[in-house]
């Protein structure tokens, strides 16, 4: 995973599979950086995600709670189209700007 911090926006480029096995290390890396950089916006870029189950939603919900507690906002961008179904089911669109990747 690559992290970029610029202009108050922390972008995390997540790649590979998000499940209960891989989520903890992704979470730890992002959270450490949030607490260090104190971004106004946390942007999760899901364009490199090849698989996710509800752990990919849990990851967004957990980061939303953390960034909200620091008065920041969350954005999730480039969610691959074939994962849109889980996102729609979860209702996380209410948490911030959540966008599906255009093919």
């Amino acid at each position: 995973m690559k992290l970029e911090f610029s202009g108050g926006v922390l972008t995390a480029f997540i790649d590979g599979e998000i499940d209960h096995h891989t989520a903890p290390s992704i979470r730890e890396t992002i959270d450490k950086t949030i607490l260090q950089d104190k971004p106004d916006v946390l942007r999760l870029d899901y364009s490199g995600v090849t698989f996710m189950d509800s752990s990919g939603i849990g990851l967004i919900m957990g980061r939303y709670k953390l960034i909200s507690s620091c008065s920041g906002k969350i954005e999730v961008i480039n969610i691959p189209r074939n994962m849109a179904k889980v996102v729609k089911l979860s209702g996380i669109e209410r948490l911030g700007r959540i966008t599906i990747k255009e093919d």
Partner: protein, 147 residues
């Protein structure tokens, strides 16, 4: 009804096996020429059920997970995921969307995903004995079914 083809898999309750389990099940079902979307649905539902066994059944501890995949006539598939873990006290409550006993990082969507991605989800559980989840889906596939 008698299955035309079956596959059994026994894995340890380790999170690293979640990926293996969903890929193995999807790979077996590939013989029905499912669409990419159908395969994705199955991988996701299996991932949820196996994760439930690891996280809730065995509380991240040691145990075995037993997976049986059966293919029936008309390309109907059942996937049974069974553990000998702690069992579920209140199945109805556990299946409610957004219900979670684990707090922050679990979305509480496991059963909701299984129910929306599969045609049928059956749960049997005995406290102290274990839980079995049976997922059922008819594969419409890319071609008219060959069976």
């Amino acid at each position: 009804m008698k299955a035309i083809n079956t596959m059994k898999l026994e894995i340890e309750s380790r999170s690293v096996n979640e990926s293996f389990a969903r890929v193995a099940v999807a790979s077996f079902i590939s013989q029905l020429d499912p669409t990419i979307e159908e395969l994705g649905d199955i991988r996701t539902a299996v991932s949820e059920a196996v994760t439930n066994s690891i996280v809730h059944g065995y509380k991240e501890g040691k145990g075995k997970i037993y997976i049986t995949v059966s293919i029936f006539e008309n390309a109907k598939v059942t996937i049974k995921i069974r553990d000998k873990g702690c069992g579920i006290e209140n199945i109805e409550e556990a299946m409610q969307p957004l219900f979670t006993t684990m707090g922050g990082e679990r979305s509480g969507l496991g059963f909701a995903v299984m129910e929306s991605f599969m045609d049928k989800v059956k749960v049997n559980s005995v406290v102290g004995k274990g839980t079995s989840v049976t997922l059922e889906k008819k594969i419409n596939g890319r071609f008219v079914t060959k069976w």
